[in-house]
Amino acid sequence: MSSTTTRSASAHPSGARIAVTGLTKRFLTPSGSAFTALRDVTFSVEPGQFCAIVGPTGCGKSTTLGMVAGLDRASAGSVEVGGHEVQGVTRGVSFMFQADALLPWKTVLHNVMLGPILNHTSKKDAAAKARDWLRRVGLAGFEDHYTHQLSGGMRKRVAMAAALINEPAILLMDEPFGALDVQTKAIMQTELIGLWEELRPTVLFITHDLDEAVALADRVIVMTAGPGAVKASYDIDLPRPRGAVQELRYDQRFLEIQHHIWQSLKDEVERAYARDAAVPA
């Protein structure tokens, strides 16, 4: 399948290439037996590409992401980021989780400042940078609030600013909008796409939601029910900039692609469901 993605001429990809080769991950269960979560996963993401991974529950999507970030070690195979094999925590990566990873005892400003501070930027510069980022995600004026004073969508904006402030080459997102309500989710998706088109990091985006994957990504990878493996990869040829995600859902081409990928994903979802249902609770 050839890549027919159109990119806006102004954007220069600043991202790094991700190459995952033969990645396998086994866990030792408490009863002492080995459990294979991922089997021989191979894929690569080009610099500046937005790649979404969809798959049924428990297919090892998050595990893959953890290994790209260097938080977790592979049982076999390798992960290369920007041409270097991942050993220890990968530099130049930011992570966004489904649950907030914000510090409740720090104000919004200090939460966003954390990235630069951890990288030894002076307090003054970090604060200036954080203020700028809060303005960019539309949270100017909320610098001194604590996170519990914000709504779910605003917390996501803070998390987004905190993740992007270090200008990462790679942005890893693990169902970042999974816990949001439908309207807020659509707004956040549109904002994410806007920021991504400005900065063009490589994005690896995990989701259950196929609509979300198709609307956002250049490429969608479908994973099999556990043990996870790559089932298929689809290039999404919707033109960019794509504009508001809500509108895109009614686009004829969007619906065609979505339907096409769903045929593949459906089998895996059904298999995962049958397997889970067969296990007595």
Binding site: A69, F95, A99, A101, L103, P104, K106, L118
Partner: protein, 304 residues
Amino acid sequence: MRTTTAPTRTDETGDTRFAAADKAASTAARRLRWRRRGLVWLARLAFVGFIVGGWQFCTGWTPNGSSTPLVDPFFFGRPSLVWQRTIELFRDGTSYGSFWFDIFTTMHEAVYGFFCGAVAGIVLGVVLGQSAFLADVIGPFIKMVNAIPRIVLGSIFIVAFGVGSTPKILLAAVLVFFVVFFNAFQGVREVDRNIVANARVLGGSSLQIVRHVTVPSALTWITASLHTAFGFAIVGALVGEVLGAQRGLGLIIRTSQNRFDPNGVFACMLVIAVITLGAEFLIGLVEKRLLSWRPVDQSTWSGV
């Protein structure tokens, strides 16, 4: 044609009828809150009156045909005599000198012990909480030491360090240490894994993560333990003094015991209670300052 029946908002401040009703309702609610607070205090006073009054009455009332009161004040003291003894202690001092100096001695030991124990507990709790290996190695020993009735250590400290303030500080510190240690350890264990992972990915070193994530997160647990810990510091200092001392409230308690003077013991207890309440208040202030970020508890709101 307008079909809505609900009042429409006319300006920024909203409908004036609603504003008036809101104001009246909140005034009424505030009055209700004050009344409840007053009732609580009244009930508290009644409770104290019942206990102290009952004690005073039972130690004074002689039943028909009996030569001694219902409860013998010789053994159990009497509130009026306790109060008198307290005043005497402050006014006349003891045979050792000024009563203030005894209070100072005990406080000095308790506060030093509290600080040493708390710092050691926090440091060791955070270190062991960080490292699963160290925790596994040292865990059983800590549990073993914790199982020992630590008050008994007081005797060893007195033998080893004499009757000065060192053994009392040590005893207080040991008692405080375990309370704070277990809480700090648990607090570090409870840190949100996502937050730690995020800080690591952002480029944080282990030391930075301890400073920015682990310790602030465990602080809720640690400050909660400090309340109990201060009580233990006082217990440590007092028991140390009862075992053997040259000055201090514990010494006065022991001399009162030897002189069959329960009122003296109660007078010291009264002083200690006041001091502990004061310390509790100060710790509460520190806690409030450190944990100012925490959301206001919704249960303190009341429906109107």
